[in-house]
């Protein structure tokens, strides 16, 4: 099925005069003792006249050993695997020397993250067989899928060295819902979420050696407050062969979610084709909203650290990138209301692996 989609979207644009420019394929694998995440992606860039377009297809697989807490008397260990397939199309058209219009659309089918899979298994074990209990009919088998659309404009306000970009997106997601139970019965969270998002970014060549990027964004999802976020990045050419990349960012959402992160990468170009790089990243958040009636699956605060090493090879036609990093995640202890999710919010040592190969056509 995935291959058919890929062929369809690779071949159809050619029939409309699009000239393929680049093709890229990649594998990402993030693995811990009990959870394994895999994504295989493929993408192709096309051009025709003033239009530049890209299509990408991604296949994801989440596997986990579900382990309930010892005092979850209804829970049972099981192996859970889920798949995800997504397709995205983006295009932009240069309307004059300084302005581009941007559009994009995408669709996916399947779970978008391992946490939703874990929680769906928990809710299935707890609530799928509540025969006769008030609200038992509220339990539904999850069928997550979604669509998205984006429109935007890019403006070169300083020729070749200063750009601003505004994007507006709408997303509609059929999600794996959450549940709560009390003496009034079983209640279900939203089945479909709508998200509106806006982002404004600037990219500037500040000097012969420094390029900056700055983005502010806001998004509003059904039944949640607006989330604000920002990211600032600075790329510095320290010499002919040395590059450093710095970034800091954060996000905040009422009533109590705040996240901060920052990272640095150092890259050395060993010869015309080969570079190696190392990077480090720190992430911290305060945990999610926690005001459920009795129990909540809201994540506690999280700190994660990553140190990675990689190689990049750029040839005349072919290019590739290899990256490996250990990543550790440390959650704050769960509280009484979140104790059933101790094994979801477990401190984990992850291994991150990424390999991508591209070809200029």
């Amino acid at each position: 099925m995935g291959l058919a989609w890929a062929l369809l979207f690779a071949v159809v644009p050619l029939g409309y005069g699009f000239t393929p420019v680049n093709m890229e394929s990649g594998v990402e694998w993030v693995d811990a003792d009990d959870i394994s995440l895999l994504q295989v992606s493929w993408g192709e860039d096309f051009e025709t006249g003033t239009w530049e377009s890209s299509v990408s297809l991604a296949f994801g697989h989440y596997g986990m050993d579900y382990q309930p807490v010892p005092f979850d008397f209804q829970g049972e260990e099981t192996r859970r695997s889920e798949r995800n397939l997504s397709l995205q199309f983006n295009t932009r058209n240069q309307v004059n020397n300084h302005t581009w219009i941007i559009a994009g659309a995408g669709v996916y089918d399947g779970y978008t993250n391992y946490r939703s899979v874990w929680l769906d298994e928990y809710y299935r074990q707890q609530y799928s067989e509540l025969f006769g209990f008030p609200g038992a009919e509220n339990y539904v088998e999850a069928d997550p899928k979604g669509i998205n659309g984006t429109a935007g404009v890019r403006w070169s306000y300083l020729s070749g060295s200063g750009f601003a970009e505004l994007n507006v997106s709408r997303l509609r997601d059929d999600v794996s819902p959450g549940y709560e139970i009390d003496f009034d019965g079983l209640r279900r969270g939203e089945l479909t979420l709508a998200t509106a998002a806006i982002s404004l970014s600037t990219e500037n060549v500040l000097s012969k050696r420094v390029r900056s990027f700055f983005e502010v964004r806001a998004s509003k999802t059904t039944a949640r407050s607006t989330r604000y976020g920002a990211e600032f990045a600075l790329n510095v050419a320290m010499g002919e062969n040395w590059v450093s990349r710095w970034n800091v960012g954060g996000a905040t959402e009422d009533p109590q979610f705040d996240a901060y992160y920052g990272g640095v990468a150092l890259e050395y170009q060993a010869n015309d084709n080969l570079s190696w790089f190392v990077d480090a990243r720190y992430y911290e958040d305060t945990g999610e909203i926690e005001n459920a009636l009795l129990f909540t699956s809201a994540a506690p605060g999280l700190i994660s650290n990553r140190f990675g090493i990689g190689l990049r090879w750029i040839g005349d036609s072919w290019s590739s990138r290899l990256y490996v990093a250990p990543l550790d995640t440390n959650y704050e202890p769960t509280r009484e209301s979140t104790d059933f999710f101790q094994n979801l919010y477990l401190d984990r040592d992850w291994t991150v692996f990424q390999f991508a190969v591209g070809r200029s056509l």
């Binding site: 997601d173 709560e180 998200t195 976020g229 750029i314």
Partner: protein
């Protein structure tokens, strides 16, 4: 329901100018959300105003792979799966429902 963080973004302008007249409790309510927003706006203004024009023929170093921002997996640094592990770093904030049933 937490009642500590009630200041919404548009109120930031009022609080900025009213700072000297604010009570300690009001200042306490100048939460991280507001400070972040104000800081971001200032930084944005500085970035817009502070950039100088660098001619294209002088951009050899800033145009190399590794210096440009790219969605390419080969030329960029993006790792798609990590937004699952670091939920605060995703662009849209994500449409995750299963995590919280009664968030509001």
């Amino acid at each position: 329901m937490s009642t500590e963080r009630k200041i919404e973004f548009p109120a930031g302008r009022i609080v900025l100018f009213a700072g000297p007249y604010m009570t300690p409790k009001m200042k306490h309510n100048l939460d991280t959300n507001l400070r972040l927003n104000v800081g971001l706006l200032l930084a944005a203004v500085l970035l817009f105003a502070g950039c100088a024009h660098v001619p294209v023929y002088e951009q050899e170093l800033v145009s190399k792979v590794g210096m440009t921002r790219s969605d390419s997996m080969v030329e960029g640094d993006r790792i798609n799966l990590l937004s699952q592990i670091e939920p605060g770093s995703s662009v849209s904030g994500g449409a995750v429902a299963a995590g919280c049933t009664a968030c509001r």
